[in-house]
Symmetry: C2
Subunit: 229 residues, 2 copies
Amino acid sequence: MPKPTPLLMTVDVVALSVRPDDGLCALAVRRGSEPHKGRWALPGGFVDKDEPLDKAAARELGEETGVSPRSLELHQVGAYGAPKRDPRGRVVSLAWLTALPASTEVAGGDDATDARWFPVADLLKPRKLAFDHATILKDALALAGRELEDSSFGTRFLPRAFTVSDLREVYEAVWEQELDAGNFQRKVTGVPGLLKPTGRTVQRGRGRPAALYTAGSATTISPPLTRVG
Amino acid sequence: MPKPTPLLMTVDVVALSVRPDDGLCALAVRRGSEPHKGRWALPGGFVDKDEPLDKAAARELGEETGVSPRSLELHQVGAYGAPKRDPRGRVVSLAWLTALPASTEVAGGDDATDARWFPVADLLKPRKLAFDHATILKDALALAGRELEDSSFGTRFLPRAFTVSDLREVYEAVWEQELDAGNFQRKVTGVPGLLKPTGRTVQRGRGRPAALYTAGSATTISPPLTRVG
DNA sequence: TCAAAAGTGTTAACTCTACACCCATGC
DNA sequence: GCATGGGTGTAGAGTTAACACTTTTGA
C-alpha cells in the first residue's frame, strides 16, 4: 500500500437555461488566468478545505457568474479525472448540473473576466470550451434529459409562477423535439402534487389566457414522461 | 481566489452478486489498518498519481478481494465528500458499482485482512459498515435497480452462458419483487440483440430444460422493463 | 403419473397518440 | 370575424398484466 498522493479537486457547474431567442443555453465564463486564459469554460474552481462538495459548486457559480438564487438544485453529473486533463497536474473535476430561469442575469467575477449564456450547440463546437468541458456538458445534457422524464427538474428552469406552455417549452428545448401540447398538458397536470394552481392566469400575446402554476411538492413523475407525442 | 488545497481521493467499489442462498450480496472487506481497523468496509483505496479513476477502482477491487475478471463494467455512483467523513483529513471518495457472477471467489489481500460476501440487508444494519459506506451502498443499490430497467447490466451478474430464469432471479433480487416468469421471458427475449441464443440447453433439477443464452451486443433496453408484472 | 420449470397463447384492461374540438382572448 | 394559444374530449392503436395452457423433464 503506497503512501497516498494528494490531488486537486475542482467543481464545475453546467447551468442550463431556456432562453427566449436562443433556446437551450449553458452558462460559460471567460477564464481570467492560466491555463486556457481567455478561453471559455464552465464556471467552477477548487474545492476549499472543509467545504461540502455541493456548497463548493454553488459558491463557484456565485463567484464567477453572479448567480445566487435562493435555492439551487444541484445534481451530480460525475467525476472527470483523466490524468492529463489539466496541465496544472492531477486535477479531478466533479461536475454538477443545475437549471436557472431565463430571467437570470449573469456577470463575470472573481477569476472570470466575463460570463455569458451560450446556446449549447455553440459550446459543443470543437475547441470552444477549455479542458474536457465539452464532454462534461454533453453528459450533463443527457442527465438533464433523464431528469425531465421522471422528476420535477423541469420546473427549475422557470420562475416561481409559470404556465404549462412554459414548462412544455423547457421540455422541447432539452429533448430537442416537439411535444403535443394537449397531451403534455394532461400529463403534467395529472401528476399528483407536481403543479400547484395559483388560481391566477396570464395573457401572453394572442390566445386564451393560461393558468399559472407554481411547483408543487412532488419531485418524481410516475410513470415517466415519454419523449414521443 | 485562495490557493487550492490538495486533498486525498479514494475509490470505493460496490460489487454486487446474487448468490444462491443469500440473495443479493455485496462484497465487503475487513480493514487491516486505521481508521476503523477491523471493521467491515467497501473495498477501495487511494487513487494513484496518473491513474484513471475507473482503473483505480478496478485495481483496488483486485488488490483487496482477489477479484479480477477480464472485463469489469463499472458505473459511477457518485462522489462523497462531506468534510468530516474520514478522520485522516479531507478525503473525497468516488463510489463505483459493478456486478459479479455468483461463482466469483474472493479472498482478502493487501490492506484487507478478509473479504466476504454479505447479504445487503446485513451491511445496511447501523454501524456495520465503516465511514459513510452504508450511504454509498444504498445509493449504489438504487443505481443498480435503475440500470436493470434500461440496460444490459443484469447480465453482468451471470456467467457467460445463462438462462432467462437466471436473469429473472437477478431482477427479482435487486428489485425485491417477484416477476411473472412468462412475461419476463417474452420481454427480454424480445429486445433485439440483448440475448444471443447459444442453441444449447441446460437441465436444472426438475422441469423442462432451459435454453442457454449469452449476452448480446445490445446495451440498452427500450422500452424499459417495468417493475410490475 | 405427478410435480415442476420453461416457454407460448390469449384476452381484458389499460394507456397512449393523434387529432378534433371548444374556450377565451387580441386584433 | 378570425387567428392564436389554452385546454378538453375521444377513438383507434398499441401495450401490458394476469393467467391459462402446452412442453419437457426428474422423480
